[in-house]
């Protein structure tokens, strides 16, 4: 499993396995930073820190104050979406770097 033969399949153009892995890891960390940034924003910023300012706004056609909605509904929807986005991004990244499972 640690054998360094170049991976097969499309997108497999990794001349040096260790540089390839570093690039893969770096891209992964960038995705994590962005997705966790959103995770933090919807829950801790919108739902807690700025909840009062956002509560001044009511979501149109509903009775939800925006901050309260983020804290009890919106953040959870975003959490679910984040994981599915992550899955799509990572499956693509795995294939690009030829480290996906056969």
């Amino acid at each position: 499993m640690s054998d360094p033969t170049p991976p097969d399949g499309e997108g497999a153009h990794a001349p040096d396995p260790s540089t390839n892995r570093q690039a893969y890891w770096k891209a992964n960390l960038r995705y994590l930073a962005i997705l966790l940034g959103i995770w933090f924003t919807v829950s801790y910023l919108c739902g807690i820190v700025f909840v009062e300012q956002l509560n001044a706004v009511t979501i149109p056609w509903t009775g939800f104050p925006l901050g309260f909605w983020f804290a009890q509904q919106g953040s959870i929807y975003v959490f679910v979406a984040l994981i599915f986005v992550y899955v799509v991004l990572m499956n693509r990244l795995d294939a690009q770097h030829g480290v996906d499972e056969k």
């Binding site: 640690s2 509560n55 009775g63 795995d94 499972e101």
Partner: protein, 594 residues
Amino acid sequence: MSVQTWTFIIVGLTFALYIGIAIWSRASSTKDFYVAGGGVSPLANGMATGADWMSAASFISMAGLISFMGYDGSVYLMGWTGGYVLLALLLAPYLRKFGKFTVPDFVGDRYYSQTARLVAVVCAIFVSFTYVAGQMRGVGVVFSRFLEVDITIGVLIGMAVVFFYAVLGGMKGITYTQVAQYVVLIFAYMVPAIFISLMVTDNPIPQLGFGGEVEPGVSLLQKLNGLHAELGFAEYTDGSKSMLDVFCITMALMVGTAGLPHVIIRFYTVPKVRDARISAGYALLCIAILYTTAPAVAAFARANLLDTVTDTPYAADAGTADRAAMPEWFRKYEDSGLLAWVDKNADGKVQYVAGAAFVGKPDFGDERGPVGQRMVLNPPTENENELYVDRDIMVLANPEIAGLPNWIIALVAAGALAAALSTAAGLLLVVSTAVSHDLLKRTLMPDISEKKELLAARIAAAFAVCIAGYFGINPPGFVAQVVAFAFGLAASTFFPAIILGIFSKRANREGVVAGMLAGLLFTGGYIVYFKFLGGSAEQWWFGISPEGIGTFGMLINFAVALGLGRFFPPPPEEVQAMVEEIRVPRGAGEAHTH
């Protein structure tokens, strides 16, 4: 048919189903027993994780808790869902690639240390037992309330069922039973929620009805805020905890969730790394259905309660043309002790305003009051509030408040049992695995045969069921207090150790063991001081409650692990190679034997 007959039929059918599944999915190897053979489909694992995660507390108590806390209840909603994002992005794929059986396995191997493994084993057992006692108690309470059997008999029946499928089937039996339990519990939660949403807001989807209007131009939340202001409660959408405390509790619950062994272990059961990722998504989706419904149910129930009880004459024949008397369910739950009323101003009507009606939990005498109410012996308080409401009533009484047919009430009982049993089984497995695998196989008796290890796992599971049952029948008074412990400890021990193990190649044995111990002592000390040694809320550091202190414990753990680790040599070559290896998915499908 009566509620009780329906309950016997529905609970009986679901139990038969669970046992049938257990026989069909018996474990024949340790791999079956620990990780269901590693061959569970991601969707099935997602549903099983959902059932594993949603306990009796989520099912019965959470909506009621939010109902009384309003905005402050958001800490549970965000805290117990947001942790899955951390789990999916930071832990699950890598631990699946690592591919052993347990959390102590990872900690022990990654930090090349038996001490680290032992610390992890002790924490895993402690966290799981803390949790499981509450579940068995939940089983007993549901049995006694719906089937009118003694709590002890209820716990014994629950033990027998869990014993059957956990001991026989191990992780394999538990997983497929949990899939069935998820279906039962989510159906049982949603049906009354949909009806009550229709009743209050004319919208069948609770998540939308939550933001709907109760009368033209007045939204449900505006109405609640208005009523709360009138009655002296904090505004429903505002809450009364400090922002920092809300922040810390949410963080501690999220990080604690991601560090709980019975949740993490589920991601070892899928075949591939990509399955582990998507399966975390399915798990959160399954959980989110209940967790976005709960706050809606909370608001509906709150509005219903305030509407129904405020200034309502208690006696059944005291109704007038413009003010109906108290409905029947009020007296029924008064009989079961979940409601209590003291008529302080002797007007025969219920006044419900902010403040406790009397000191402590209700202690009923044998006498009846002038209008037939049960009298409590507790000393009354100075304020004008006359009503005590147990928060569990919000979910349990919903079908009756909404006037739903008897079979739905029975369904709620089956759902609550499914939630309690599925969580209990998942936790018992962690305990038995910690003993047979981490303690016996990896520490004390490395040459134990596969067959003997499997036998040891079954015996350990059987023992764990009995101990859990004992605590269910004789609950130690501190069960409710120690839940903060489970999350706080998971947050301040496991989470940093695992994260560093994956994301830092430099993290070494000395730093991480010291970090875990520092987190453990700090968080444990703070909780023990404030929960058991009589520390008061004025002494909280920066106003942070014991529930939220795990956040600081985690930061201390990270700081110690990284700071102290610098003074010691980096991990050996082969450990660094292992970290390289778990960072890429390729190769996880291959057999990992030990």
